[in-house]
Amino acid sequence: MLGDVNAQDQEIAIKEIAKKVVLAAHLGEEGHIPSALSILDILYSIYFSNEINLQDRDDFILSKGHASLGYYAVLSAKGVIGTEWEESFGKYESDFGGHPHRLKVPQTLASTGSLGHGLPIGTGIAYAKKILDIEGDTFVLVGDGELNEGTSWESSLFAIHHNLNRLKLIVDLNKSGDRAINLSGMSEKLAGLGWNVFTVDGHDVEQMREVLEDRTSSKPTAIIANTIKGYRIKEMENNPAWHHTKIDALQTKAFLAELS
């Protein structure tokens, strides 16, 4: 089971997934590569966990839909989708676009893209499960810049008021939003609202799993994952120039080599 692999094998597995991100972005001439690389370890922690069951019990929403390259790569590695996305990403008739479509991509609950929609939807799902007395966590992965959206805070108020303790907000804190609004003190902000807050290294799978898999919280959980945008490709790391940039054949070759 991939969920049981050791740290070294895990790193190799995640790098293989990262390679798919690079390759698909090159073939599709499209994609937010650094945003996808920012969340790969988070997605891996969830999708390859032995304790999280997204098929029958738990739910996941990628609210920062522009990181879809990472999402498809992990879904494909997990076997939820095939490999067809790699060559078709972003193409006219593809099911796999720059933002995921819930009626085209299996296990996808919400079609996202415009920021600030995932958390309210996930909050509604968590509320529905609570009143139906259905077991299962609802994970919502948002970007830090996305937290500028008022709906993040509106939904937080609702989730806290109704004590949706099976709702797990994951913040991909790669600090790309800081150039607009500095988000330091996020932990205190969320804790002040009533979230049960954990801060983790967003590239440390074991550390993340400890909080992602925990089901004992009596309050909604916010997991602040400190990440590096563009992680594992030095040229892209924390470099805003790469946010939505095409990569040519030479660059692709170099990036794939770096990930090998």
Binding site: R102, L103, L109, A110, S111, G113, S114, G116, H117, L119, P120, I121, G122, T123, G124, I125, A126, Y127, A128, K129, K130, I131, L132, G150, T151, E154, S155, L157, F158
Partner: protein, 293 residues
């Protein structure tokens, strides 16, 4: 209509496990008995309209049929993107029930006006719009459509007409036949139009939906004289619908609706209708001028 809203929603709760009601901190007293009986399925969301729509969408994903209720501009204009994406694009079913219409809250001023709602909601593919002119019409429309799998918008209004229209379930019906032209009137303004044309030899077609079935009815209509469209929201909102679906012949369309301007006076709905020429007397003069020119 708000009392009817309480009774017809209660009826759906009594008959099904799927309805949930989300209130934007209005109607809470009216729905107190429903809240007492159905607890967590009746939610006072507070004042967070955008998230109210998103949260409703999450409930819909899990199989509930949400009904979302608040004042028209705060629902339609403030949360339009949420309605478009979280319901329209996701292809989820939900009922959006607004109050206030164009200027029912006239005394409160422009922030509470919403003459753009029908145009905005109709821009969302596959939406169904209901423009009930009376309590009976709303009751029938809600009962028939609350679980039709669509994005439904019900526009409740304080203003109503007094006509009881039996066996009318197509959204469009001919109420009066004449030879000088045709008036196509939507929703509560039927009252003022019927008073205005009582002595005119003119046809009156009443429309209380912008829905698939109403469009089907429109496609059966042939006009060959002047058409006067009287709408209780922004003037010209349904003109394209008529052009695209009706057989027009040599007809010419005239729009009498709410003008595209901020109506910055306060007062009452009746005063606003008079100011913009939609009261019976003004309508009579305007319609006579159109058909006689």
């Amino acid at each position: 209509m708000r009392k009817t809203f309480v009774s017809v929603v209660t009826e759906t709760f009594e008959s099904s496990q799927t309805p949930v009601l989300l209130l934007g901190d209005i109607g809470v007293f009216g729905f107190r008995n429903l809240k007492e009986k159905f607890g967590s399925r009746v939610i006072n969301m507070g004042i967070l309209e955008q998230s109210m729509v998103g949260i409703a969408s999450g409930l819909a994903i899990k199989g509930f049929i949400p009904t979302i209720h608040t004042i028209a501009p705060f629902m339609v204009e403030r949360a339009l993107e949420q309605i478009k994406i979280d319901f329209g694009y996701q292809k989820l079913a939900g009922n959006f029930v607004s109050v206030g219409a164009s200027f029912d809250y006239a005394a409160l001023g422009c922030t509470h006006h919403c003459p753009a709602d029908v145009a905005l909601i109709s821009s969302i593919p596959s939406s169904q719009i209901y423009l009930p002119g009376s309590q009976e019409e709303f009751e029938r429309q809600y009962r028939e459509n609350w679980n039709n799998g669509r994005l439904n918008y019900f526009r409740l209004s304080e203003d109503t007409h007094k006509f009881i229209l039996d066996n009318f379930d197509s959204g469009v019906t001919l109420l009066k036949s004449g030879t000088m032209g045709t008036i196509l009137v939507a929703g509560p303004l039927l009252e003022n139009v019927m008073q205005a044309v009582s002595n005119l030899d003119i046809s009156v077609i009443y429309m209380n939906e912008i829905s698939d079935r109403a469009i089907k009815e429109l496609r059966k209509i042939s006009f060959n004289q002047k058409i006067v469209v009287v709408e209780p929201y922004y003037s010209g909102t349904i003109t394209n619908l008529i052009i695209e679906n009706c057989s027009l012949g040599p007809s010419q369309i005239f729009n009498l609706g709410v003008p595209r301007e901020f109506l910055e006076n306060y007062g009452t709905t009746a005063e606003h209708l008079r100011h913009i020429g939609l009261d019976p007397e003004s309508l009579k003069l305007r319609i006579e001028k159109i058909v006689n020119d």
